[in-house]
């Protein structure tokens, strides 16, 4: 009898939820692991592990100053982003020189969003340049060159003192003015709801 009830309950559950292939259709036959794929070696991981966390985890050895970065910028960046980081609309964003007095981006779409007034983490500058820049030869800058051009941009934005070297220790400590303005999504997530937010 108990078995029958269990069966009936199982049938009810089955018919109640739509047949959703996301559910594991193997049921109790599903193995703990399928045993597919192969173990990743330390060198496999190192070859692709290029992300950088805001606390500096992932930053490589090396360092660079704004003076060194000016040279890198002129040869690798200026052709698209302009001699002074002013950008070329619409494809190549302005990097530096946005107004820093207010944070009125919601009210005024014309305010340029630059590293100094909009980027919440200095580590992202390094991580993005290392990941994707320059557009025509991503990955071509050395760690020193990447630190240097990062320092150049941060110094142009007045975020680091003149002559300061950027490295794995100093970069995560750079205070970014925009940081406190960022908030997590408040649109009620996947639960949704009727309210327009």
């Amino acid at each position: 009898m108990r078995r029958l009830i269990a069966l009936a309950a199982a049938a009810l559950t089955l018919s109640a939820c739509k047949l959703d292939s996301r559910q594991d259709y193997l049921g109790d036959k599903a193995p703990k692991r399928f045993g597919l794929g192969h173990a990743a070696s330390a060198s496999d991981i190192a070859a692709e592990d290029i992300d950088v966390l805001p606390n500096g985890t992932g930053l490589p050895p090396g360092s660079g100053t704004a003076a060194e970065g000016a040279t890198v910028y002129a040869s690798a960046c200026a052709s698209c982003h302009g001699a002074n980081g002013e950008g070329k609309a619409p494809d190549y964003p302005q990097l530096v020189g946005g107004p820093k007095t207010t944070f009125d981006f919601a009210d005024n779409p014309k305010i340029p969003r630059t590293i100094g007034n909009y980027w919440p983490y200095a580590t992202t500058v390094f991580a993005y340049i290392r990941r994707a820049m320059p557009l025509t030869a991503p990955g071509s800058l050395t760690a020193d060159q990447t630190y240097a051009v990062t320092a150049y941009l941060l110094e142009r934005e007045g975020l680091i003192p003149s002559g300061a070297a950027m490295d794995a220790n100093s970069l995560p400590r750079v205070q970014m003015p925009a940081r406190s303005h960022f908030v997590r999504d408040d649109r009620q997530g996947s639960q949704g709801g009727p309210k327009v937010r």
Binding site: I45, S79, P120, A132, P134, Q191, V196
Partner: protein, 416 residues
């Protein structure tokens, strides 16, 4: 080099790479929107197709010479080619017309050597080949992918002669086949303290986004097929991440790596881009779900209609679930009437709507309004701007309008 009117082509890119290798970097990358005008060949059909045998069979089909749907604009390595919504019926987007957003070109990847690395906070750091991924139990799902910048151009620079493609063409809908991310998480043994994962592509921008582990356990997929065939290169061949209902940018193409961590990785695409300014000096980040939206695809510019019956047709979708209802107005939103939903109404997927309308020759303003299964009603432009301010244009989902003039011309009404 100075600004050039021609877009970046593969050839100019190779020239640029050669120049870069020589020590000087390519300057003067393309101006947006520059394209060669397309001159279609005039199709010819015999007066009586029954009078003689037709053409023989072919290995790969092609469209009738009488139809020519095209993505636009094209030719860029950083840019978006939009889906010609006005040329399509039903709810599935042909794979070769799925909108394409790329950040540094479309990579050519050999599926025999491509691997997906999963590491970080896991028991077993693993690499999976594409063949490995195909051996896991698979799922088949229909979902839309929409760029969160869809609609911004029609907001920032509306003109009467914008087509549905130009207004909302950064959304497309496909049947996808792949393996649940949850299955892969189980295979590698994701640690309990892992809250976020980084998904990264094997393109030249190595695009990367942070995704909550909860989404991975819910309905995220690593997909390898689209509408019955392997993914197209511009859609991520051989594999892409599919996060149903989440903004397009997160659905990382050419997926090469997933790294589990405790906190978001704060990539450029989730900080300086894809964040939404709000009144009061706030900046919304990690706004993943695409809110409910709809657009009328016919009648629309550049159609010209005559008095009589015209079905008002369009698409509706919600990143949070199913579409419950679509209302249509022909009088600029004074009165609304429920449209019919056609075909299957699936979660986080396009659904086609249709409303039978008899145009009497008076000036009309056509609008559509989607309602999803959370009771969310697609807002007016005014409602949206009131809560977000004019500076926000990601996740931009206002009710759209088409003006029908007395002479039957239909134009986009950007200021509603």
């Amino acid at each position: 080099m100075t600004d050039t009117a021609s877009p970046i082509t593969r050839r100019s890119l190779l020239a640029g790479a050669a120049a870069a290798a020589g020590g000087a970097l390519l300057a003067g990358l393309p101006a947006a929107g520059a394209q060669q005008p397309v001159v279609p060949a005039v199709p010819h059909a015999p007066a009586d197709p029954t009078a003689a045998p037709g053409a023989p069979t072919t290995a790969v089909g092609s469209r009738s010479p009488f139809v020519d749907p095209r993505r636009a604009p094209v030719g860029q390595i950083t840019g978006t080619a939009l889906t010609p919504l006005q040329d399509l019926n039903g709810s599935i987007t042909p794979a070769d017309l799925h909108f394409t957003r790329i950040h540094d070109g479309i990579p050519t990847i050999d599926p025999a050597t491509h691997t997906l690395l999963i590491h970080g906070l896991v028991d077993h750091p693993m690499e999976f080949t594409v063949d490995d991924l195909k051996r896991f139990p698979s799922v088949t799902r229909v979902h839309f992918v929409e760029c969160s910048g869809n609609g911004r151009q029609a907001y920032r620079a509306p003109t009467p002669n914008m087509t549905p493609q130009q207004v909302e063409g950064m959304t497309s809908n496909s049947e996808w086949v792949g393996v649940p991310v949850a299955t892969l998480f189980n295979e590698v043994g994701v640690h309990h303290d892992a809250e976020w994962f980084l998904a990264e592509g094997r393109d030249a921008s190595r695009l990367a986004r942070s995704v909550p582990v909860s989404k991975g356990r819910d309905d995220a997929l690593v997909v390898y097929a689209q509408n019955g065939e392997p993914l197209r290169p511009e859609q991520g061949f051989p594999i892409r991440l599919l996060l149903p209902g989440f903004e397009g940018n997160m659905n990382v193409k050419w997926l090469r790596r997933i790294k589990l961590g405790t906190s978001p990785f704060m990539t450029r695409w989730e900080t300086s881009k894809y964040t939404d300014p709000l009144p009061g000096g706030k900046e919304r980040m990690f706004s993943f779900e695409m809110d409910a939206k709809s657009i009328i695809t016919s009648p629309a510019y550049p159609q010209r209609i005559t008095p009589g019956w015209w079905p008002v047709r369009g698409l509706a979708w919600s990143g949070r679930g199913r579409i419950n209802r679509v209302d249509v107005s022909v009088d600029g939103g004074h009165t609304w009437l429920e449209a019919q939903l056609l075909g299957s109404i699936l979660s986080k997927a396009h659904v086609r709507f249709e409303y039978p309308w008899q145009w009497t020759g008076n000036e009309s303003l056509l609008m559509s309004r989607a309602v999803d299964d959370h009771g969310y009603v697609q807002p007016t432009m005014k409602q949206l701007l009131a809560v977000r301010g004019p500076g926000t244009d990601y996740h931009f989902n206002p009710i759209r309008a088409w003006r029908v003039a007395r002479d039957g011309t239909v134009t986009f009404e950007g200021r509603t």
